[in-house]
Symmetry: C2
Subunit: 315 residues, 2 copies
């Protein structure tokens, strides 16, 4: 068993990436508060570098490398935002990045990767094909593999978002974050339980990609082979490393169906005036359906990314 | 000749509306900077209360009223955002608001007004019909007319946006703001010329609604009868009060055609992840077309509002 992620890891990440990532704003909306009967505090990572919280973990991982290791570059496989984030962080450090993407990646996310001059390698949209392609490029170049979530430096970086939220919206009763591979929820729960133990931390998954819920209930990691959800950032399976943190520190996991996610996404665009991608809208969808009880509570909701395809909006 | 708006008016507005309006973030984008060869600082008023800078002027006007006057309510005619802003400000003070809107108002903006419990009065989409309907409701109720821009308190409130921008992005070479009725550009130019006289202030109009340009060139106020632009927030004509400030303090006026505005709008959504409405995109459109020279400069651009109709995006 690996050691669990610690608050010290997250605080070190915060110091390492200060001035590189943005302190994103927390937005509120009278209309959304009235609809929920709650006070909702939206942490707006769509306004982060590369349009997603993934910039935090990628920057921490890239800048934690030693000089010689860094010079050989970094590599990853990613459905999009982590790939863009790693390309961005590598360009910031002036080192090569090799990004494996499935051939189903949405055009906005692919353009986001290409912008930072990364070497893009296209493969079939299965986890096996992605991992094989990434292993190949690592073997060929000596690059360091930076996994999208199964990496302590990445998990620690994602946790810096919660450190900011704690300062921007103190006294939260509840924090909601989506679960894909579990990097964000791991960092979030670790920061919260250390600094604000009275705050409940609930993860939200698409109903069609609920491996974390199944794993938590059964007590064993159940990988997910055929996710079926519009939330393309949340199709990954947990790793042992993220599952261990979730079991220890996440209070509950709930799900939201895709139709509720699309309605939530649109409601967020209209009320907050930011372009949240489907994965970002999953936690607020659970508020709207009542899958998580928020009435009368102060609720922090992490909006994770804003790279929606403006030619294929789902409403 | 009325006295021109002063910095003292704007500073008093800032103090009066503190804690009611938001200090909106300034966003930057590597991609947009690279495209322009400039450093662009986007002041994000779509993230303001009611989704537009109009909250500033409306709040200042409403909270400047004496108790007895306020109790009789406020009224206005507005193509949308000022109406919503006045409804919001009135609800904040707990007084009635009567809002005259043209029957062509977009649904998102109308819903934005209705949300705050205002009395909505629909009329034909001409300035004459709007003014007549507003005069009628004022006569019937004793409400105070709060004009969308021909009002010193409103102009002063709009200028508070520039005070924040000066703190958030010091040392700007150039500030760009759109011109509709001239309230925002009046407040912006007044604040800038007083506090940062080396900063050029350039107003941008839709090519199909260029009354301010025509008025500035000819030296006399030329009202605009048939504006033809997608930028529904910029179809109004200057007033003598805003024209006087523009003549004295605005360095230049340029225009942008609607096709450039639509492209600029989409580029802003993609790069900044915020939903800017067409009127908001007009100044950045002028950067893209080269109508205003920005190469090598530090440029502040006021993004004015985010109430786009998500069912009728123009691309």
């Amino acid at each position: 068993m690996t050691d669990l992620l610690t608050l010290a890891d997250i605080e070190a990440a915060r110091d390492r990436i200060a001035g590189k990532v943005r302190r994103t704003p927390v937005l509120t909306s009278d209309a959304l508060d009235a609809a929920a009967g709650a006070n909702l505090f939206f942490k707006c990572e769509p306004l982060q570098q590369v349009g997603a919280f993934k910039a935090r973990g990628a920057a921490n991982a890239v800048f934690a490398l030693g000089e010689a290791e860094a010079a050989r570059g970094v590599a990853t496989h990613s459905s999009g935002n982590h790939g863009a984030a790693l390309a961005w962080a590598a360009s910031l450090r002036g080192i090569p990045a090799h990004i494996v993407v499935p051939d189903t990646v949405n055009p906005a996310k692919r353009a986001n990767i290409a912008r930072y001059g990364a070497n893009i390698i296209v493969c079939e949209p299965t986890m096996a094909a992605r991992e094989a392609a990434a292993a190949r490029v690592v073997a060929e170049t000596g690059a360091t593999m930076i996994h999208p979530y199964d990496d302590v430096a990445v998990m620690a970086g994602q946790g810096t978002c919660a450190l900011e939220l704690l300062e921007q919206a103190p006294g939260l009763d509840l924090v909601l974050a989506p679960i894909g591979g579990g990097g964000l929820i791991s960092g979030t729960a670790t920061a919260m339980k250390a600094l604000s133990p009275a705050t409940r931390v609930v993860g939200v998954e698409p109903a069609g990609a609920d491996d974390a819920l199944g794993s938590l209930r059964s007590g064993v990691l159940i990988p997910m082979d055929h996710p079926a959800t519009i939330a393309d950032g949340l199709r990954a399976s947990l790793s042992e490393r993220t599952f261990a943190v979730i079991r220890a520190r996440v209070d509950d996991i709930v799900t939201a169906p895709d139709d509720a996610t699309v309605e939530a996404m649109r409601a967020l665009w209209e009320a907050l005036k930011i372009t949240v991608e489907p994965s970002s809208a999953v936690p607020y969808a659970a508020v709207r359906t009542g899958a998580v009880e928020t009435r009368g509570l102060k609720v922090g909701i992490i909006l994770t990314g804003g790279n929606a395809d403006l030619d294929a909006l789902p409403w």
